[in-house]
Symmetry: C2
Subunit: 332 residues, 2 copies
């Protein structure tokens, strides 16, 4: 099974990381070397990697940074990871890096001080491996609740999981078809999702974000599938701007709305979520070229919040849950 | 009162026309000379002018073409205008050029053959003048049904009428604010509407088309206002792709949806409307630069149809009508 390069977009190389430059896709497939904190923050701020890549970047960078700076006791590591979490969170405030910090802290309790770094590295790499298997399993869970030969509408990019889903459906003898919203301003829909699905040999129709109502009306869409950067204990999801618009329209057209998501961790309510507003220039320009006057006032919230009421099922590592079922899991 | 250059984007100069090149705005304000049919069709096909500009182009071109080719009897003119209507309709199938042809034919009955061209010219120029006054009156009608100091959400471009509306509101002591959807792929929202409103001194916020649900949620929008390229006797409107998406969301967020429109003429139902699909390259490229792989399959319907049920009022030259009232007018 061919895996999308977006499924594992950051590679750990010991002293440095190799990060797939998503901003250069689909025209160039190039990797960026991340050797120090400034490199890592640049990659984040300039959205060279996003979604699952941010998780990989955080875990792997904590390791490579420790190797480089000879941080080889849990006490020193603890202090350093505090700093890194703050810096990463400042670079992309919507993404919950502190959740990953908490998670690494649970590892720290079991790490042998005598061989601190090697032991931590083994634990983290094993964990990432298991996470990737869980992600592949998650698309299997999703494949079982989709209509046969589904027509799937999506936006932005779910880090290679839609390719994995398409391949799972193909294995089951089904022919999926994808309708991909281009996802302005960064065009992750056209540059990443449409590209990876087409490369993997699946049927893809690209459309401009504003066409979505007509795409629903004319194409007998079976389901909307999106990812999420974060979810709350109430079953709301925080994902790329545009998701909320899709969700409202999916409800209007009576199309199921599925979200591939992770545990809610400690975000109780959508009121606790800070939405990142990015520089208006990212909307006013394409590449270096201005497509609207530089003085134009413009809004660019990078994410939006889709309330639970619009979501049919949250697809987790261990099952597909209605928002109500999802809420109950965190009430315990 | 300063009028937007988009309010009268085509000028009649006798033997030729001068057409505002909307594709060069907002960075360059240049005019294209239209001397013959091939020039006129290029301007249409390449969307150098659209909306009201198409109407002006048709009427004025019929005149300048007659001058150039010494078409100076109603019989010759009749034959020629048949050809022109076909050619114009082939260039942009959604726009109802045959309506204009029918209209010119009513003039022909009253034109004195002895001074055919001068008389026809006077009649048409007087008619266009009256049309522009009616358009200014239409925004007055609209201004009376808007909430005070309205926050107006719009997309694409209504050929200078939103500037006229804003100036009418200002005259009434009100402060309007505009939220403009950029309108991919041609960005008429950012390049034309945001530009003309800002030039005229009004408050404008530009946003990407996919942000629209969040813009409704966060900004207490008073009304959506759009134009239309065509309307049916049932009160449906045909307008720039994206209008239908806006209308569904406006209904969901309980925001009135107003459409500046013209008489329905002889389009009975939305089933009689052919939607123009434009080349996918227009979506895959920005300017000459590809923003997605050239081989990507993509959909680009240039218009969509918004059913009457989503429309609060159709704003006509002689009043604001609910779709039901609008329907009744054509049932007589």
């Amino acid at each position: 099974m061919k895996i999308s390069p977006l499924f594992h977009p950051v590679e750990y190389k010991g002293n440095y990381l190799s990060v797939l430059d998503e901003s250069a896709l689909p025209f160039k497939k190039r990797y960026i070397r991340v050797r120090n904190l400034s490199d890592a923050l640049d990659v984040l701020k300039n959205m060279k990697t996003r979604a699952f890549g941010q998780l990989l970047l955080f875990y792997y960078f904590c390791l490579s940074d420790a190797r480089l700076n000879q941080i080889n006791t849990s006490k020193k590591f603890n202090r350093r990871i505090n700093v890194l979490t703050k810096k990463f969170s400042q670079a992309r405030p919507t993404f919950a890096f502190y959740q990953f910090q908490n998670h690494i802290n649970t590892f720290l309790k079991e790490v042998k001080e005598a061989d601190f770094l090697n032991d931590l590295e083994r634990k983290i790499l094993t964990y990432i491996d298991s996470l990737q298997r869980l992600r592949l399993n998650r698309v299997k869970i999703l494949s079982r609740i989709l209509a046969p030969n589904p027509k799937i509408l999506t936006l932005c990019n779910v880090s290679g999981e839609l390719v994995a889903l398409a391949q799972e459906l193909k294995r089951q003898g089904q022919i999926p078809e994808f309708f991909v919203s281009e996802t302005r301003p960064y065009l992750q829909g056209s540059r990443l999702t449409a590209w990876e699905l087409k490369e993997a040999g699946f049927r893809v129709n690209l459309f401009c974000d504003n066409q979505v109502a007509m795409v629903f009306l004319k194409n007998n869409i079976s389901a909307v599938i999106v990812g999420s950067d974060r979810s709350t204990k109430e079953g709301d999801i925080i994902n790329k701007i545009g998701t909320y618009t899709l969700a409202v329209l999916a409800k209007h057209f009576n199309v199921p709305f599925y979200c591939l998501t992770q545990p809610a961790a400690d975000t109780r309510s959508r009121k606790d979520v800070e939405i990142e507003f990015r520089p208006k220039e990212e909307l006013l320009r394409y590449g270096r070229k201005f497509i609207a006057p530089p003085t134009q006032k413009a809004l660019y919230p990078a994410f939006d919040i889709t309330p639970a009421e619009y979501i049919t099922k949250l697809i987790c590592f261990d099952g597909a849950f209605s928002p109500e079922e999802f809420r109950k899991r965190w009430q315990k």
